[in-house]
Symmetry: C2
Subunit: 190 residues, 2 copies
Amino acid sequence: MNRLLQQIAFIKEIDKLKYIQRKTRLFNSDRHENDAEHSWHLAMMTLVLVEHSNVEIDVLKVLKMVLIHDLVEIDSGDIFIFDTTKNHDNTAEELKAAKRIFGMLPEAQATALIALWLEFESGETNEAKFAKAMDRFEPILQNASNNGGTWREYKVPKEKVLDKTKPVAFGSKAIWEYSQNEIETLFKTL
Amino acid sequence: MNRLLQQIAFIKEIDKLKYIQRKTRLFNSDRHENDAEHSWHLAMMTLVLVEHSNVEIDVLKVLKMVLIHDLVEIDSGDIFIFDTTKNHDNTAEELKAAKRIFGMLPEAQATALIALWLEFESGETNEAKFAKAMDRFEPILQNASNNGGTWREYKVPKEKVLDKTKPVAFGSKAIWEYSQNEIETLFKTL
């Protein structure tokens, strides 16, 4: 019973992810997306797009990764990928957040989820590469549907967009090919 | 490439789930939860609580179920479980929605997801039972944290709450035992 109580405390705590606003907006919309919605959408994209992975991957592992990947932002907040004033490798603060949040769970469960989050962050395994591809691909679709979205709003040059979204290719060459076309087409209109 | 374009159209379409408001509110909050946030939370609960399932289950299958279970509401809307004026078995309208929404995907993928959604709806397999347990358990936690929440707001009697949440037991007797205690304790204060 003690395990269940710890798990329920964690389930209540992670509700806070629904209040973390991202810079990007929903499709054809002005409304900002929050991290819980974003995580759900990445999970759905994983389910539907897994056949385009460059290599065979463990779907369950990718799903777990995308579901938990932003939980640390409950403590550390969302950092906009094109924000040049903040350090995107603030792993010390994020690691502390991971330890606090996942640490609410029974020990073995906490350890496993922290390891999974670190694997995602490193982006080295095939599952992490695909999960990160989804994480980069969603804002491409959103910004394309919003006439440039955050790229236009923050005047991000095309070269920088292509550079930051390039990791899509490590997960899926097919999706990266589509993404490049979307970005090229969009920037012709901006 | 044609498959990818179909899948991307589906990914854009399901963004609408983020606009479907549920009756229940976030933890300790007045803000209503939307279906995308709800689906993400059920997926997280599945990950963390699966050890309490009455029987061994396929976690990947449960995750898929909870991620997609409310997509039909994009067309048919959310029906409050205690609303006595509406038919909760409006399967004709929901089936039409499932066929339209999942039908945007390549055929085999559409067929598989419709079958999975129907399996969830029937609630007969072990995976469907656990998925439905999560779907009933989240509002118990939310309402308990909100001083009665929708139960108080809509003056739902305790017996009706216990009756509607009972399916938690089909997925997990341990979680049902906890839920009954929460409900009994809460109604003493209402």
